[in-house]
C-alpha cells in the first residue's frame, strides 16, 4: 500500500467564525480519518517516538490498536503512562516531541500522533466507560501541592499504585494552568474537569482553597501523617519589561488577562469579573501564552490584535499549530519589534478626566538578528531610528513568569536557584528529605507535558522511597 505522504488534516472551525467564539478550534478527527491516519504508522522496530514523549506513551502500541478499530484499547494503552490523555492530545507541542522523531517524518510528514491520541481519549470519554476499579490501598499517604499538570500526573501515578493521595489546591477549582491559563477554545474546561473526576474515582482527594505555605506548611503536612510531599505549585509572578508605562490602566500580565477570562469566566455575557475588551490590543511575547492571550482578546471583541515579538518567526517558541491558527484568525504579527514604552492618555487641563491613565499607544523599535547568544538563538539588536507607535487600548505582557515564592519562604531547608526555581535532583528530590518538586515551580515557565514528565518521575521516586520503607 502506498504511503500517504501528508498527515490527515485536523478539521477545524472556519477562522472567521472561530475568531469570534470560545468553542474549541480543532474539532477532532472523525472515526474514518482516525483509522486512515493510524494506517500511516509504520510500526517501526526502534520506536523513536516513545523516546520523544516525556511520559513515554507506548505510541506504536496504541496506534496498532487504533488500526483495528479498538479505540478503547488504544485509550487503555495511553492511560497506562499518561494521566491526562485528552489534555496532552490537545496541548502538547508534538512537532518538537514524539512527532519530531517519527521515522515516517524523515521523508514525509510524521504520523499525527497527537491527533490520534486526542481521538482515543475523546472516544473513551464519549463512550462513558468507567475508570478501572479502585486500587488496593497500600497504607501510605502522600500530599501533592498544586493540581496542575505535574500534580495531577504525580497523583494519578501514585493512586494507581495504592497510595492515599491528597492534592491541595490554592484556587477554588482544580486544574491549575489547565483551568486558569489555557483558554476554552484550545482546551475545554469540561475535559479538564473530567480528567480530575477520573482521579477522584481512583480515590484521590482534592482540597481546594488550601494555600500550602500559608494555610498549611510543608512541615505540618508531615505532622498530619503524609510520608512524602510533591510540590507542583507552578508558575508564579509574571515578569514585566520594566519599561515606562507598565502601570497604566489597560496593561495586563498574560496571567491576569487569561485568569480573568478563563478562571473567572469574564468571556461570558454579563460576567461578574471585569476585563477590558474591544479596541486594539498588543500582546508582547511569542510563546503559547502570548498566542492564547492574543486569540482570547480577539474573541472578546478586539478590533485589532498585534503580537509584538523581538525575534523572527523562526524563533517563535509557541506550538506551531497555534501560530498558524492565530495567523489564520487575523492576528497581526509584528515580528522583530520590541516595545520601548507604553503611552497613556493624560489631560493636563483636567486631572479628573476619567480617561487619564488609560493606555493609548505602545512605542516599539524594529530589530534585526545579530550573533547567536547563550541560548544559541540569534540575538535581536535594535535598529537605530526605527521607532514607531501602535495605537492600542490594551497591552498584555506575555514574557514569562518567576516561580511562586510562597512555599520557599515558609519551608526551612528548601533551596531554590538564582531565579527562584526549586532545586531538585534527577528524581525530582529537593534539598529536603521526602519533599519532591517538578513543573514550572522548578523550571520556570515551560510546557504542560514537561511538567507531567516531572510529576511522573517524582511519583516513581516516591514509590521507590516508600515501598522500601514498607
Amino acid at each position: 500500500m502506498a504511503i500517504i505522504p501528508k498527515k490527515h488534516e485536523m478539521p477545524t472551525q472556519e477562522p472567521a467564525v472561530r475568531a469570534r467564539n470560545f468553542s474549541e478550534v480543532a474539532l477532532g478527527y472523525t472515526e474514518e480519518i482516525a483509522l486512515a491516519e493510524a494506517q500511516r504508522c509504520l510500526n517501526c522496530k526502534n520506536r523513536p517516538c516513545v523516546e520523544g514523549c516525556p511520559v513515554n506513551v507506548q505510541i506504536p502500541d496504541f496506534i496498532a490498536k487504533m488500526k483495528t478499530g479498538d479505540f478503547e484499547g488504544a485509550y487503555q494503552v495511553i492511560s497506562q503512562t499518561s494521566a491526562l490523555p485528552a489534555v496532552c492530545g490537545r496541548v502538547c507541542p508534538q512537532e518538537k516531541q514524539c512527532e519530531s522523531k517519527c521515522t515516517l517524518g524523515i521523508k514525509f510528514e510524521s504520523v499525527g500522533i497527537g491527533r490520534l491520541e486526542r481521538f482515543a481519549a475523546d472516544y473513551h470519554r464519549n463512550s462513558g466507560a468507567k475508570a478501572a476499579n479502585k486500587p488496593v490501598p497500600n497504607g501510605h499517604k502522600v500530599a501533592i501541592v498544586g493540581s496542575g499538570p505535574s500534580g495531577l500526573t504525580c497523583a494519578g501515578d501514585l493512586a494507581r499504585k495504592g497510595y492515599k493521595v491528597t492534592v491541595y489546591e490554592a484556587l477554588h477549582v482544580a486544574g491549575g494552568v489547565l483551568v486558569y491559563g489555557i483558554p476554552e477554545f484550545r482546551l475545554p474546561k469540561a475535559i479538564v474537569a473530567e480528567e480530575v473526576e477520573g482521579l477522584k474515582e481512583l480515590g484521590v482527594d482534592i482540597e481546594t482553597n488550601v494555600i500550602i505555605g500559608k494555610t498549611l506548611t510543608i512541615d505540618e503536612l508531615f505532622d498530619m501523617g503524609y510520608e512524602a510531599v510533591f510540590v507542583g505549585s507552578g508558575a508564579g509572578l509574571p515578569n514585566f519589561m520594566n519599561i515606562p508605562g507598565e502601570s497604566l490602566k489597560g496593561v495586563y500580565s498574560a496571567n491576569e488577562f487569561l485568569t480573568r477570562s478563563n478562571l473567572m469566566k469574564a468571556y461570558k455575557e454579563n460576567p461578574v469579573t471585569p476585563i477590558m475588551k474591544g479596541g486594539n490590543v498588543a500582546v508582547v511575547g511569542g510563546g503559547n501564552v502570548a498566542m492564547d492571550a492574543a486569540r482570547t482578546a480577539l474573541r472578546l471583541g478586539a478590533d485589532k490584535v498585534y503580537i509584538v515579538y523581538r525575534r523572527s518567526l523562526e524563533e517563535l517558541p509557541a506550538r506551531k499549530e497555534e501560530v498558524e491558527h492565530a495567523m489564520e484568525e487575523g492576528i497581526d504579527f509584528r515580528l522583530l519589534c520590541n516595545p520601548l514604552e507604553i503611552l497613556g492618555y493624560n489631560n493636563t487641563e483636567n486631572p479628573r478626566d476619567p480617561m487619564n491613565g488609560f493606555v493609548q499607544k505602545i512605542r516599539c523599535i524594529k530589530m534585526e538578528l545579530g550573533e547567536p547568544d547563550a541560548s544559541g538563538r540569534r540575538r535581536p539588536v535594535e535598529i537605530e531610528g526605527s521607532e514607531f507607535d501602535l495605537d492600542v487600548d490594551t497591552v498584555i505582557m506575555a514574557i514569562g513568569t518567576s516561580p511562586n515564592p510562597l512555599i520557599k519562604s515558609t519551608t526551612k531547608g528548601l533551596e531554590v536557584n538564582r531565579k527562584g526555581g526549586i532545586i531538585v535532583n534527577e528524581d525530582g528530590l529537593t534539598t529536603r528529605d521526602n519533599v519532591y518538586a517538578g513543573g514550572d515551580a522548578v523550571t520556570g515557565a515551560a510546557t504542560v507535558i514537561s511538567a507531567m514528565g516531572a510529576g511522573k518521575t517524582a511519583a516513581a521516586a516516591i514509590d521507590r522511597l516508600l515501598s522500601e520503607k514498607a
Binding site: 490554592a170 477554588h172 482540597e207 494555600i211 509572578l237 509574571p238 507598565e246 490602566k249 480573568r260 471585569p274
Partner: protein
C-alpha cells in the same frame, strides 16, 4: 476536614458557614466565618480571598480577628459593589462558597514600643486588629480613627479597649472632633510625641496625606494597601504597586510582598489611578445586583 460540607445530590461540596453576622453601620457588616485552618494561622495585617457563590468573583478582605476556639475568622466589609452586596444578603447560618487564606505578610510589630494607628472609614476594621496586637505585645498605642459622619462610626469601643489614647474624628463634625485624621496627628507630632511607627490604613488619599504629615518629623510610616486582586497567591500580578526606592521605580505585588509597605516609597497617585480601572463596570454591576436583591 476543611469546612462543613453540604450534600448536593451528587457530590459533597465544602462550604464555609457564616457563624455570626452583625451590622456595624448601615453600610458596614461584620461576619464571622467558620474556617478553622485559616483561623489557626491568621495574624493581624493578613487577608483572605472569598467567593460568595459558584459564579462569584474573588475578592480580598482583611482579617479583622480570629476565634481560635470555634475556628472562625472575622471579616468586616463595606457594601460598595456587587459582590459585597451579595455577601451582605447572606444571613447567619448560611454558607459562602470559597474562603482561602491567610494571605499576605503579617504587620511587622517587632521592637515597636510606641505606635500610632491611623484608620479611616472601613479601613478601621483592618486597623483595629493591628492596634489590638500592638496592645497585646505591650506597646503604647495611640489610635486616631476618622469617618465621614456620625452614622458611619464603627468599632469605637474596640479601639477604646486597646488604645492608651483614642481620638475620633468626623469629616463633617457630626460626632466627636471635626476634621480629618491628619489634624490630631500633626498636633501630636508638633507637640513632640515620639512614635516609633505610624501605621495607616484607609482610603489611599488619606494614607497619602498621613504620610505627608509625618514626613517632616521623620517617623516611619507603614501603609496597608488594598489593590485590585484576583488569585491573591502571587500568580496574576494584578495587584502590583510601584515603590520608589532611591529614585528607582520598583514593581511589588501586594498579595505576596504586602499588603504593608513603607509608605514613603509608595506611588499613591498611581495606585489611586489603577484603583479606578473598572469604576464604570463596578457601578453598573452594583446597580444590577441591587435591582436583583430588591426584587427578591
Amino acid at each position: 476536614m476543611i469546612a462543613p460540607c453540604v450534600k448536593t445530590g451528587q457530590e459533597m461540596i465544602f462550604l464555609y458557614k457564616i457563624a455570626r453576622k452583625k451590622s456595624l453601620n448601615p453600610t458596614v457588616t461584620q461576619m464571622e466565618i467558620e474556617a478553622p485552618l485559616v483561623a489557626a494561622k491568621a495574624k493581624p495585617g493578613q487577608f483572605i480571598i472569598l467567593r460568595v457563590n459558584e459564579e462569584g468573583e474573588r475578592i480580598p478582605l482583611t482579617v479583622a480577628g480570629t476565634n481560635k476556639e470555634d475556628g472562625t475568622v472575622k471579616i468586616i466589609f463595606q457594601i460598595v459593589g456587587s459582590t459585597t452586596a451579595l455577601l451582605n444578603a447572606k444571613e447567619q447560618g448560611e454558607y459562602i462558597q470559597d474562603f482561602a487564606g491567610p494571605l499576605g505578610v503579617p504587620t511587622e510589630t517587632e521592637g515597636i514600643k510606641k505606635v500610632c494607628v491611623v484608620g479611616g472609614g472601613v479601613g478601621c476594621a483592618i486597623a483595629m486588629p493591628v492596634a489590638e496586637e500592638f496592645h497585646r505585645l505591650g506597646a503604647e498605642v495611640t489610635s486616631i480613627i476618622g469617618f465621614r459622619n456620625k452614622d458611619l462610626v464603627i468599632l469605637e469601643d474596640e479601639f477604646k479597649a486597646c488604645s492608651d489614647k483614642l481620638v475620633v474624628m468626623t469629616d463633617d463634625g457630626s460626632y466627636a472632633r471635626h476634621g480629618n485624621v491628619t489634624v490630631p496627628l500633626k498636633e501630636m507630632l508638633e507637640a513632640g510625641e515620639k512614635f516609633d511607627l505610624i501605621v495607616t490604613i484607609g482610603p489611599l488619599i488619606m494614607m497619602k496625606f498621613v504620610t505627608l504629615a509625618a514626613k517632616p518629623f521623620g517617623v516611619p510610616v507603614t501603609a496597608s494597601m488594598n489593590p485590585i486582586m484576583i488569585d491573591g497567591t502571587g500568580m496574576c500580578g494584578g495587584c502590583r504597586i510601584t515603590l520608589v526606592k532611591d529614585g528607582q521605580r520598583v514593581t511589588k505585588f501586594a498579595c505576596v510582598d504586602g499588603p504593608d509597605f513603607n509608605a514613603y516609597e509608595i506611588d499613591f497617585d498611581e495606585a489611586m489611578s489603577r484603583g479606578r480601572m473598572y469604576q464604570d463596570f463596578e457601578r453598573h454591576a452594583y446597580e444590577e445586583t441591587c435591582n436583583l436583591l430588591n426584587k427578591a
